[in-house]
Amino acid sequence: MLIGPFYVAHAIIVLMLALIIVPLATIPRKLSYAAFLASSALLALILLLSIYAFLAGVDVTVFTIFHLYSFSEFFLGLFAFALLLINALSYEHYPNFTRFLLFFSFAIVGMFVVAMANSLVTILLGLELMTLPTAFMIMTSGRHHIEAAVKLFILSAIAIGALSFAIALLFPYDLQLTLSPVSAISLFTGATAASGNYLLILSIILVAAAMGFEVAAFPFNLWVPDVYQGAPGNVTALLAGINKKVAFVALMEIFFVVFIQFKPIFSPILVLLSIATMFYGNILALVQTNVKRLLAYSSISQAGYILIGLAVATQFGIEASILQIVAHLFMVIGAFAIVLWLESNNLRTLDDYNALGSRNRFAAISLAILMLSMAGVPPLIGFIGKFLVFSSAIDSQTLLYLAVFGIINSFISIYYYAKVIDRMYSGKSHDMLAMGKYTYAVVVIALAATILLGLYPGPLISAATVASKALLAI
């Protein structure tokens, strides 16, 4: 091995801290471009290091609160890559980028902390560190941004409260609160029966509720459309593309490591959440006229698809969910990049999207492909994700109906995606729209990922297999 595992882990942590220093150093002198370059470079370094660590199979625990292993390395790399895209989008969007970066860098650290967490407290800390700055980021600009920020702040505070309570309830069973399987034996009273162990069950339910807020599962997702619509587009892309995925990582870490012995208890909860979320998101998306709201509901339904794989709770199910997470991340960042750019040109509703095909050909084709991918049309990556998720449900033998519900939803969703595409190609207009170069680059990268990973998903699936096996091996 070229670099020792110990150094890799420390290097990543140091780079994370350096990210926080970047805005502090650049704010007084308003060095936006320098801040952008520095933060991008740091993210790129983290990306490279995590790829290296993943390929080398690094498995190391740092300070007992961080654990760097295949699963966390996979998501570190994924988030770093996605954050590079968001960083570029934000730089183009804000005249004063450094002020944004001040909050953004903290949120980034929170995301990485969750991905590398080795204890429940670390997860709690990471989630808090991610969500609070996001609320501030929403406040920087956008329509109805104060309302959106306050909603996100209050609801995430409730979620964090529920999560802390759940962790506190676990204390009798695991004094260390590390990410390791808890057994039903209370260390204080010696009670053993899982069915009678109400503290544990309550803890599971509270975790499910808290995570339901974070991943926007029905019925905890009423904040999503308002916040997504109110926030500036790049923050919406961040929320939908990365924040929710971080919450999924936390969910996987808690359920599949800590509560792995209680699969019969948490699996039905996830099944219910998944079905309700898919139907809620898709049915409400049908009637939306604001594109951002439409995408918000669509990403709610996508969260439902991800939950299918987690509800199945097998290694294949987790692998499928990871793939769907990757798929949705790229699709939604690409789509919101286009929506953000159109929003800055005052195009918000479906009616505004009329004739987009003749106003900017590239944007229309890209948005059409991204939406088809979200609808699960092969050979795009959205199809691969959905295919694996539904396959995992059928493979489990008992949850066949989840696949049926998933496919029904996937069918419902084609209507509103086709509606957007239809709008873009209706009518002609000679009023051209030019796209900024960073937005263009982000869209190209998201589009390339959507198409290429869909055409040739082999390496990604292998990586997801490694990550899911590593998670279950703890």
Partner: protein, 470 residues
């Protein structure tokens, strides 16, 4: 191990991408070259298999190694007949299907993309890639209708995509169930066929019904055919040629697959044949209510697809080859008819049989092409449709007794109605007040290609059936 099928796919995919980068004139040349190469490869395969007296090609390219899915392609006589039909129709559509010269670049990209998907689908030896090609084809035609169609295209295209995605959802579910319920856990069609009898009866029935429903929507069959008239009428000429000529064959080919793959089909063959026969007669009655000529042709698709399904449900060699031959004949013939109606619309500005008069005297080539198409659809001897009908009804009578010949009634009715159309709009004296536009050589070349292949394979059926083991 050959590379010819892969080459066809590669050429059409590359052409589809590169057309986007060119201007409309060059794009048409590239599209003609691309589809011409595909057609040339198909003819090469035809000639070489005629010389060898047999045809069996298998190709495999890596795809998703993690799940043991590879791009497995096969070419048996059945696959080949459909591929040849696709190549002919796509070439003719690119060459001639656009008398208005509107949206040339978009149209050519989408046609090449559709050709890619159709060839892939008809040659796939693997249900997973079958599904992938299916959806690519559907999406390509969705854009074809939505972007290039006529006035009511948006309604028609959304209706089309809803029906088709419904079908493909059922298809996906069925395919995944096959994968997980066969003991071998494979998508490969031949290994599923070998292992299918070990799937429990009830599961098999469920899978069969899912797939049958999916293919029935696509074919289309009586209760789920409502997308077809709108989609065909609103699509551009090229769109209708591909929709009716090739896309409906996706479902028919799928039917052929499930009937050979799942043993449960034996039990369900008779009810399905009854449904198909009813669909034929029903569509014949509906057709006679139409006065838009394009809509008339659209409805004849339902009639012919019903007959094809009767032949498939017969489950014997005559029925199967009759069905495949009918798919070929119908694809070529219906493309010819849609092409001539498209030109008719361009020439006269209308497709209403009450308005259009004297086509033969004013636009002779278009008029005669349409009449040849009518001959082909109704199965007049020397057209490919005749060979197909003979094979089909021998097979159907073998399987179902004389009742198997009942769908002929639908064909007869539609034949009679068509002669009325021809008499009214084509032969009757012209209306001198109608303005006239002329069509170019390219359209006439398209007529020649489609009419030529219709007659060639009608007069010399051994060209396609010679190397099969009928």
């Amino acid at each position: 191990m050959t590379i010819l099928i892969g080459l066809m796919l590669l050429v059409s995919a590359l052409a589809s991408v590169f057309i986007l980068a060119l201007d409309s004139k060059l794009s048409k040349r590239l599209a003609i070259a691309g589809s011409g190469i595909v057609l040339a490869i198909a003819i090469l395969i035809l000639v070489s298999s005629l010389l060898q007296g047999s045809l069996s090609m298998n190709e495999s390219y890596p795809y998703i190694n993690a799940f043991n899915i590879s791009l497995q392609l096969q070419m048996t006589p059945i696959n080949f007949i459909l591929v040849l039909m696709t190549a002919i129709v796509a070439f003719a559509a690119i060459l001639s299907g656009n008398p208005e010269r509107a949206g040339v670049k978009t149209a050519n990209t989408l046609i090449m993309l559709f050709e890619f998907s159709a060839i892939g689908l008809f040659t796939s030896a693997n249900l997973f890639i079958f599904f992938i090609f299916w959806d690519i084809g559907v999406i390509a035609l969705f854009f074809m209708i939505n972007v290039l169609g006529s006035a009511n295209r948006r309604y028609a295209s959304i209706k089309f995509i809803i029906y088709e995605i419904f079908a493909s959802s059922l298809l996906l579910l069925g395919i995944m169930m096959i994968y997980f319920y066969t003991p071998v856990h494979s998508f490969n069609i031949s290994s599923i066929t070998a292992a299918a009898s070990s799937i429990p009866q009830s599961t098999q029935e469920l899978i069969f019904i899912l797939l049958f429903a999916a293919f029935a929507v696509n074919m289309p069959l009586f209760p789920v055919h409502f997308w077809l008239p709108d989609a065909h009428t609103e699509a551009s000429t090229q769109g209708s040629m591909l929709l009716s000529g090739v896309l409906t064959k996706f479902g028919a080919y799928g039917m052929l697959l499930i009937f050979t793959m799942l043993p449960i089909a034996n039990k369900l063959a008779v009810p399905i044949a009854v449904l198909a026969g009813f669909s034929t007669i029903y569509a014949a009655f509906v057709t006679m209510m139409q006065h838009d000529i394009k809509r008339v042709i659209a409805y004849t698709t339902i009639i012919d697809m019903g007959i094809i399904l009767v032949a498939i449900a017969a489950m014997n060699a005559f029925g199967t080859y009759g069905a495949v031959y009918a798919m070929f004949a119908h694809g070529v013939t219906i493309a010819l008819m849609f092409l001539s109606v498209g030109c008719l619309h361009h020439i006269f500005g209308s497709r209403d049989m009450k308005v259009v008069k004297g086509v033969v005297s004013k636009a002779a080539s278009t008029g005669y092409s349409f009449i040849m198409g009518v001959f082909g659809i109704t199965g007049v001897p020397l057209t490919a449709g005749f060979i197909a009908d003979v094979l089909i009804f021998i097979g159907a009578i073998q399987a179902f007794g004389l009742a198997g010949a009942l769908p002929l009634v639908g064909l007869l009715m539609i034949g009679a109605f068509f002669y009325l159309v021809v008499n009214r709009s084509f032969m009757m004296t012209k209306d001198p007040s109608q303005p006239i536009e002329y069509i170019g050589m390219e359209e006439k070349a398209g007529y020649a290609i489609l009419m030529g292949s219709m007659l060639l394979f009608g007069i010399f059926p051994f060209l396609l059936l010679g190397f099969s083991n009928l």
